[in-house]
């Protein structure tokens, strides 16, 4: 059987999917990166081999903030930015989609699509309020798990108004609301409203959000956020079945055009890889150069702004 792999190495989670040529998801894995992207990729590949070892890999695509690293680890055919990857998987699922709202671990995106082409996009630049990391942090503080957050929000009767411009102020405002005596449900619902307002103010200003709207990324798991969006915009937000792995699916879809794959084979799960870094002493820029080593020595370097280290590694 022939199949394609998509890898999305995000800030918080690493997603690996296997699809067939029609784009059907055959296998997927979703695990925490925990600051060790290479290990996360390798353990996902170990599991993939155990479960689906007899498939023939015809192409590999990587995306996410760790897309370059993933390329060096497995040998990718396409390395794509996450905006394009998310757009392609959403278009594949709902061909007439017009808006994609994507909220992940540390960044959020708004992508507008007309006639199957991305026409505009925005991405959070300065503030991570409203992303998964922040929600997780607040859930821990409130003593509930991030998965329960949404259901608590849905149970609220009158959501508290929480300041949402900045994560630090949101947190202190939530503490204040707790001390005022608001109950947990109302505070959680207020938090969801605040995050939605923050998203709309930062990313959606002046942009035409029209249906169908797809809501994807890890935060789409939270029905409280979905409900808050729908209340605020008066539009239905469609959460696809594979909402957390849409980026990886997009990367795999792009890899379908591969003629001859550069995939290094299943041994990538076992290869000995280590990373190290040093500061280049040659000029005051002091670029932090990253090296990836296998047993034979350095296989890749990047991080320098002048190109002298990066070029040696190729």
């Amino acid at each position: 059987m022939k199949a394609f792999i998509g890898i999305d190495v995000g800030s918080v989670t690493t997603k690996v999917v296997l699809i067939d040529h029609a784009g059907t998801v055959l296998w997927h894995s979703y695990r925490k990166t925990q600051g060790q992207p290479i290990r996360a990729i390798q353990s996902a590949f170990g599991a993939l081999r155990r479960d689906m070892g007899d498939v023939v890999i015809q192409g590999v695509g990587t995306t996410g903030s760790g897309r370059k690293l993933a390329d060096y680890v497995v040998g990718a055919d396409v390395v794509k930015n996450e905006i394009t990857a998310h757009a392609l998987s959403a278009i594949h699922l709902i061909p007439n989609v017009r808006t994609i709202v994507e909220i992940g671990g540390q960044d959020s995106k708004l992508i507008l699509i007309r006639n199957r082409v991305v026409t505009d996009f925005s991405m959070n630049t300065v503030c991570a309020a409203g992303t998964g990391s922040f929600l997780e942090h607040q859930a821990v503080r409130l003593g509930i798990s991030v998965e329960e957050l949404g259901n608590h929000a849905l149970a609220a009767s009158s959501p508290a108004r929480v300041a949402g411009r900045c994560t630090v102020f949101a947190e202190s405002d939530m503490i204040h609301k707790q001390q005022m005596g608001h109950n947990l449900e109302d505070i959680v619902a207020g938090l969801c409203d605040a995050l939605v307002r923050n998203y709309l103010n930062n990313l959606a200003r002046g942009k035409d959000i029209s249906a169908p709207v797809i809501f994807q990324g890890g935060v789409a798991a939270n029905p409280g956020i979905k409900a808050a969006f729908e209340r605020e915009l008066g539009q239905e937000f469609i959460v696809p079945v594979h909402y957390p792995i849409m980026g990886a699916i997009g990367a795999a879809l792009i890899a379908r055009t591969t003629k001859k794959t550069r995939f290094r084979g299943w041994q990538v799960a076992e290869q000995q890889l280590s990373t190290s870094s040093f500061y280049c002493p040659d000029c005051p820029n002091s670029c932090g150069v990253i090296e990836i080593n296998n047993r034979d020595g350095v296989i890749a370097r990047w991080g320098d702004s002048c190109g002298k280290w990066g070029n040696l590694g190729e």
Binding site: N81, T84, V117, T119, F121, T125, P284, N285, S286
Partner: protein, 363 residues
Amino acid sequence: MRLTVPHMGLLSTAYTRVLRQHGVDMQPPPAATLKTLNLGVKHSPEFACLPFKINLGNMIEALDNGANAILMPGGYGPCRFGYYGVIQEQILRELGYRFRMSTTDNPDRLSDMIDTIREISRIRNRFDGYRVFFLILMRMAALDRATALYHYYKPREINREDTDTVLRQAVRLIDLADSYPRLFRTMPEITRMFRAIPIDKALNPVTVGVLGEIFVVIEPFANLAIEKKLGEMRVEVRRGVWLSDWLNDRFRFRPFRRNQTTYAKKLARGYLNYPAGGESIETVGKTLLFQKKGVDGVVHIMPFTCMPELVASTIITRISKDRDYPVLSLTFDEHVSEANIITRLEAFVDLLERRRDEGIYRH
């Protein structure tokens, strides 16, 4: 007197050698690095723009290297830049540096520039002053010409970094061309060097207009080498603002090149009828021009807290909507995240490529 002038793109290459030959003891600041930026940021008001901070860093490094006089372009300016010299002087004095500071009073007036040259160099004769000043201007135009060739060849190069090497060689040759005849002989040589780069002739790259505040547009250190990044993504850059154009609009040394400010004003009519400072009118006018000429999209770059470009950015968002034309605005300061910039540039280039393909299929 050891004179230093803050960097602005390749400008220092245009004047340093020529002025040295006329007795000016030049001490150009070292090329900007992270150290320059950190020094600048440390001693600047937080909401001053990136050009202010890099300039100040340049000055501190040059003074530490032995310079004792600073020449700052300014006087009145098209934006806050006009009074930067005054504030930088005060900051440097409070830091304990001893130096002479001069600011050009009226950078638009030729006689003022000639007076400045006669003041700092051995040149006494007014005619010689003109001759030297116009040689500097021609050298600047040559540097811009080499950069434009770079924009054309970079996306097409087969071996990575070839074009960058040639550009460095070209800049070196222009630097050495210290007389009119040498400069005229150098230009065909530079064109030949670029032509010799092995290129992918079949490639029909996406084109992107680069517009915005002039300092961040022409200074790769300030914009994270955005033109090189675009070139590596196989995009042909069409830069809309050039230092030599800015100079030519004031000093008319290229009689056959039209006045770009007046031209931009004419183009911008209807969207922006009065210059709003900085390069706002150029940004608006040239966005409309690029759209008309079939350039695939515009990347608009500006320093954080730049008022004129913020005005322009709002207007070009409107143009983008009215004419269904892709525009990406990027803001730069010391906190900019390179990963974020790269992701947005890549997504923008994908968008342009897809739009182009759709257009081809439709026709």
